[in-house]
């Protein structure tokens, strides 16, 4: 579904992402972890068109590197951001309407179907019922994250990229979020890439896990196997435990 071939991005002389290649299967939950500065968010920005580097990126066999962010959204790739910044002057529903309309308007790709019929259904699916009319600025972080996620879903994506969906949440909220993500994948068949720093969340919910280090793929594979790998342990825990 998504394929990266030799993707590289330099900031000055620093290679934030270096010759990265991987491929995503439809319906997969794919996790990305790695130490600070490994280039995780840069990978997201490259895929979603906010940054442009070298190498090739394909979505459904079509080359997408070089496209603008809105064009990539129109093809069916949605994303969230590490720190959610929804449209604060609008209500929850108005946020979603932007995604619902502009995620589809003027796009060139094939017609998209969504597993939900209308926004009301989407809202109840993510658990924002009763908060539709709230101005987003009055929401707490968890609900803001849900609003951003739901707006991204409203663009009818087939692939959704989640940047630290659980960060900054309480334990209970993180658990709820994780559950929601799993439902997105199982019930709606969405393909998911997630960056996460809570390792337990990744090992529990991902089909495959990519460990990034210094912008390079250290290991890709089944999560349990990956985190038991001495190389990964050295990278994440330290020499002593390797």
């Amino acid at each position: 579904m998504l394929r990266l071939e030799h993707v590289t991005k330099h900031f000055g002389e620093l290679a934030a992402v270096n010759d990265l290649s991987f491929e995503l299967e439809e319906g997969e939950v794919f996790g990305i972890a790695g130490p600070n500065g490994a280039g995780k968010t840069t990978v997201f920005n490259l895929i979603s068109g906010f940054l442009h580097g070298s190498g090739r990126i394909y979505f459904d066999g079509r080359r997408i590197d070089g496209l603008q962010p809105h064009q990539i959204t129109h093809l069916g790739v949605a994303r969230t951001f590490q720190i959610p910044q929804p449209f604060n002057s609008m209500t929850v529903v108005q946020n979603l309407r932007i995604g619902e309309y502009y995620g589809v308007a003027g796009r060139s790709g094939p017609k998209k179907d969504a597993p939900w019929n209308d926004l009301a259904e989407l809202i109840s699916f993510v658990g924002l019922e009763g908060k539709e009319a709230r101005p987003v600025s009055t929401l707490k972080l968890y609900d803001k994250k849900l609003t951003v996620l739901a707006s991204a879903l409203a663009t009818k994506p087939r692939l959704i990229m989640l940047d630290e969906a659980l960060g900054g949440l309480s334990a209970v909220e993180a658990e709820q979020s994780l559950e929601l993500l799993q439902r997105l994948n199982r019930e709606w068949g969405l393909t998911i890439i997630m960056i996460e720093h809570l390792m337990s969340a990744l090992t529990r919910s991902c089909d495959r896990l990519l460990i990034l280090n210094n912008g390079e793929a250290l290991r890709i594979g089944e999560p349990r196997t990956v985190v038991e790998d001495p190389v990964v342990i050295e990278c994440l825990v330290g020499v002593k435990h390797a």
Partner: protein
Amino acid sequence: MLEVEGISTFYGEYQAIHDVSLEVADGKLVSIFGPNGHGKSTLLKTICGLMKPASGVIRFDGKEIQGLPSHKLVEMGIVLISEERHLFPEMSVMENLRLGAYAKNARKKEAENLDLVFGMFPKLKVLAKKPALTLSGGEARMLAIGRGLMSNGRFLAIDEPSFGLAPILRAEVFDQIVALKNKGMSILLVEQTTGDIAEQSDYIYLLEDGRIAFSGSKDEALHDSVVRKVFLGIT
């Protein structure tokens, strides 16, 4: 020397630090470990006055310091060596070092501390005239530490000194940090991974998702089951 009591820090409404308390006694090396993105850097920034805690108390030599501007803290002897380095890219290595000695009491000891830094990292002396942006990752890390030492602090907060260093250099840097401790400096150090420095630490905290997940002596803190849970997410 340094006591932190129940501080919480936010980015907007994003709570990065939840009610964290810790202590660094005089002349000790205390380490905080934890995976990335769990609030370690934010904790150090809060202690060193780059961020304001929403609640909680920070005491230095018994005096409350939370909320003071960073230049006041540097004057008091609290020095941060940042993981992001924050060097002055278009200035030479020498200028960066000299700016490290900006604070009044550091100025008096500028020459002395410069010798100390060049003794620790002879490479910096060779590079003295090069602009900081031309340095390699390892060299820049040395410069960041060197600049921190120029501030003549009594308390060093060091954020991931080994980040981006080759293993040999990493060992060297850790040796130097231990040497500093042996000279009587109090040090609070943050690392993503445990490794050798854990062995040298007087006390260890593990930080998970902005909270203290565990604290204790090195043997207690680095027990396999604790480490597997915090770092690898498996039990």
